[in-house]
Symmetry: C5
Subunit: 311 residues, 5 copies
């Protein structure tokens, strides 16, 4: 996620360099032909206007959908932050609430709390790696028992497998008395919420924005850039400033190219790019909040934005 408010102009131009170079070439060509009095290339400006508005419909639609995807992804991860906290709180308060019972064993309960909260954290990191298609699963090792970690590395859908492990741990605790009553019932609510958030993220990851919109947006953008100099040259020549057509065509092409690109980068929010939803920072927040709830003192350092980007 981009945090800084000002962008490097060189980076911005590099960003749409293909479109700008294309526009420059066409403009120079049109201007050159015209200077040679080969005047057949003049089109009325209304052609560009009507194409420009058709293009604008496409781009507006694409940008809306694209931003909608990004914001949904962010909202899903916001939900993961909430449900992780609530689940951790339930684990801690429910386990403690049985302290007055006959079969209460303090150490067993403390171990259970710590283990469960660590598995919650592991699930969050696992989902991050799963969505970004990264393979450094050893990051999870410190949160899991050695056996579980070994089995995990062989499973295909790792967050789903961790959910199964967490579910099993809860019912184990129910049967040995660490938990009791309707404790599992309420925890299931948060496991369900987390499973649904994972599903939502996978849906966004696996279903790109409809390719038709993507392809034709780019096609129409290039068609628009191509026709633009032809429909500008007439007016500019009439005013005897034909060479000014070139920068004007460049500026208009730049605006439309940026409009199109800005939507494109938000289409896929889980690709380990600077425009991603900041999964690493969110995982860090969850880890810090949950460990604090356990009463741990030395929390991992807070992840801050670097050079205006937060991953």
């Amino acid at each position: 996620m981009i945090i800084k408010r000002k962008f490097n102009p060189i980076r911005v131009i590099q960003y749409v360099q293909k479109e700008i170079i294309f526009s420059l070439l066409i403009s120079l060509l049109v201007w050159g032909f015209y200077e040679q009095k080969i005047s057949l290339v003049v089109l009325p400006f209304s052609i560009s206007a009507i194409l420009g508005s058709a293009l604008a419909i496409f781009i507006a639609f694409r940008n809306n959908s694209s931003y909608g995807r990004w914001w949904e992804a962010r909202t899903l991860w916001g939900g993961i932050v909430n449900s992780s906290r609530v689940l951790a709180r339930l684990i801690i308060t429910f386990t403690d609430s049985h302290a007055h019972q006959a079969n209460f064993e303090k150490e067993r309960s403390e171990t259970f709390k710590k283990e469960m909260v660590n598995y919650c954290i592991a699930w969050v990191h696992a989902l991050r790696l799963h969505l970004r298609k990264q393979e450094n699963w050893e990051e999870l090792q410190s949160f899991l028992s050695w056996e579980d970690f070994k089995v995990l590395t062989n499973s295909q859908n790792k967050p789903n497998f961790l959910q199964l492990l967490m579910g099993k741990k809860i019912y184990n605790a129910m049967s040995n008395g660490t938990l009791g009553g309707f404790d599992s019932f309420q925890m299931e609510g948060q496991l369900l919420a987390l499973a649904n958030f994972q599903g939502g993220c996978e849906r966004i990851k696996n279903t790109p924005l409809l390719r038709q919109y993507d392809f034709f947006t780019r096609l129409f953008l290039y068609a628009f850039i191509l026709l633009l100099p032809f429909s500008l040259i007439g007016d500019f020549t009439r005013m005897e400033i034909s060479f000014l057509m070139i920068p004007v065509a460049l500026i208009i092409s730049f605006v439309f190219a940026i409009l199109a690109k800005v939507g494109e980068v938000n289409e896929d929010p889980f690709e380990n790019r600077i425009t991603d939803v900041p999964l690493s920072a969110l995982c860090n927040t969850i880890e810090r909040d949950l460990l604090e709830m356990l009463g741990q003192k030395d929390l991992p350092k807070k992840l801050e934005a670097e050079q205006g980007f937060l991953f």
Copy 2:
């Protein structure tokens, strides 16, 4: 679902060939008349502009609704993925959680888990066939008992009937002690979710996008293509490039025709076409995830996109 980023230009033109041929004929006719000095056919360009924007309103509205339907269908199937996983997890952990009870029978429990998870998979495949109006119900046979499969083939709404069977199996397990306590209560939550997802899919399948919008979009598109050459010919003749009117009319007609078509193909997401929601791939994902949760090793092969299309 289309996965590839680049489209075959010939396929794209075939896609809107009717509109392009119509536009070509009209343009040639108008140009021919004009060359013969039959000048009555000149219209001001503003006519096209005002019709073009009315058409754009229609198309934008239709494309939005159409994409909304597609994305809702995808989201419903995303929900089916989640709820299937959660239901499978509940089946497994709940059954196992009674292992310490007096009336626990390991074999009965193992059979129950396997059977239930297979019925979940069968329901998902059944819904796919039901929505795509396909008839190869023998695909379900391996997941069901022979008797249930026989009865199923005679029922009219097969996924609904499978839900009834799953419900009955759960209460059967409750009464013989395989399950207990509030297990059925929590599983009902997922059965309910699956029933609602099915209902949502059937709503989209059975209610086409309002025909009025569809019909008048096409009508206005043809009207626009018809009037376009008449309102272009004036400007082009004045510039003495009247023959250039033909490609320009074609390009503008092509852009509007594509805009209209792109929305049309997403209207109905369950028709076994390349623009469908990829039901086969989603069913495959569910089958693999659920079988892995059961501990099965040889999972069915993952369905990948072929030639840029995922079914």
Copy 3:
């Protein structure tokens, strides 16, 4: 609901005949005046352009809202289909699940299942008649006991009264042992859902789309049709094709009139018109699905579209 893809052109024109006749009269008048050299009636075209876009804002807004109402109505009825099925499934599986208990009476249970499912069907039909303000309540008689039917005919809100009866039957079954445990708790979830769907439908039925938007859309449409010939005549006369102004004014008026009408017909989805949400077909689907779940063999015939319309 309209199913057919092609519309009868004569019907379409009848549909907006008032607007077309009005446009024709004004155009002829303007043309006539102009032929008589009474030239004061010329307006610049930009007047029409600016009014046209203001009108377009209104129409787009109205069509969006109107379609939103129709689709919400359809979604509510989709929910009624789901919840009816789920409620029927719960009635059947819950009643059967007590078969192993001491106070189980097979006949009493079978009667209860049949009666409850019939009351579900009666509720759906009652809601249809209630929303369409039809009075043929005798359609419900076969689903209800004679006493309940008599009382029903005297109640003012019949679906609401049927809900009360269904609720009472459930608690009666709880107390005599036909149901038990938390059965009523789960059924209440579906009764609640059905009550909320009813409320949603009544909200749409009783609250027309804001009259201001409706009135001013029509007012501005007529104002636009009125001014259009005045602002077209100038350009057409300059090109010496003044009589061509008449068909062009007619076409543009037709497009805007259709745009306005298309939204209007979907405003009220429960009026027993061809553009209604197909309540009769949905009730038929529910009846067939629920009777099949009861194991009944001779289901009522499936309602199909007639002449391209599904009611």
Copy 4:
């Protein structure tokens, strides 16, 4: 809420009289100056076009938000209708469901049902008065006990206080055996729903649509009306029909003023105006439905629209 389909033209013009008088004055002035050959006041029409579309963006945004607020308010009250009915049904069926128990007292139960349903009705009326900032609290007296009514008149948030009273009555009934089991649990669901609907209404009441949008819409509207004659006079004088500029400027100003006003009246749906959500009629519906459920025969008269307005 406005029910009638046709509006009184004089009322409509009064509605935007300030804008129309302003437009008339400016137009006359501009025309007068121009007739005196003081030609410096001519602006190109494109100025009005660009300002007109910026204004249209503002107005469209404001109307959308404004209608969204109105419809949300209506939906919240639709929810109040549903939840009131469901709560009344639960009160009646739950109380009756204990008729077979040892500690059942018929009179106590009947009193409880009647009292609770009356408190539900009182809550609805209280919310109406609360939202419309009316002070005739004596309307509630007939639904409440004398003591509760006295205390109520001294509380600051009366619907909230009535919720507390209803909650207390339910737990009182739980402890004396009028209710039992999980009855309170299910009723809480509806009390919660009603509390959330109240909160939603208060949010809309207390948070006006962002004042910035309101202020600048009016500012830009007046700026547009001011500049309009200056940019029209050129074209009209060229055609030698300069006096016609005045009615055309008036019509365009009228259209934009109506567009702006139509959104404004729906911004605040709880102000006891003819454009309000019809709270009185909704309260009347709830009162009639709930009293009928109690078996009461002489229901209050149904509130109908008067002169096309429903309050």
Copy 5:
């Protein structure tokens, strides 16, 4: 939040002073050059029109998203008001409902009610300070016990820590008999709702509106203001009123600058600015409502708008 309906014109102009000064400078320069007959700087007006509409797309999109964020923030806080009231009502009625039980201790129960309600109020204030990044935590001291306050000041996420404390208090009350049955179960529902509202607020706080849209909106706004005088000067000179170009360029620049700014101020609703969601007033409402429910007589004074602003 701004309450007043009329804005101070000087403040409004200061608001967009940078854009206006920039526009003034460019206009003067262009006019000056032109007066010196350096005519190369004339551009056709259509350039501004096409850039203006591209800019309008950006601004409309930004304003929509920005208002959406503000309204979501307001809705989340509306939810906090509701859930706080409901939680307080549950605390009071549940505690009182055990008055007939053997182990009831009136003083313990009264202390519990008062303490819990005060912790609810503390949580709300803590969330306000947390979101606005204020540090005057001593405001919370009067609502908390001294020990809890000490620990709180050392925790990093204070509202989250208060939730943990509230959860613990509930289970403590469950075990000593102040509460019982399923009381904790229902209270958890409201704790969960509050946790989710907190998460939603943190999401809006921590995720600024996509910087790309912000940056390019400002860039294109300045580009538009820069090109505007060049494309106006032609028309105005032709009419021999070239100096009038300056105020017209200023007015158009002002309108677009205001359009852009109006959206910008609502992007971040928790910054302790006059355009914030009025957190202080909402906290005050909650405090007053909850203390009244406890039966307290001297409520804190109601926070009113000062000089048209409500914080």
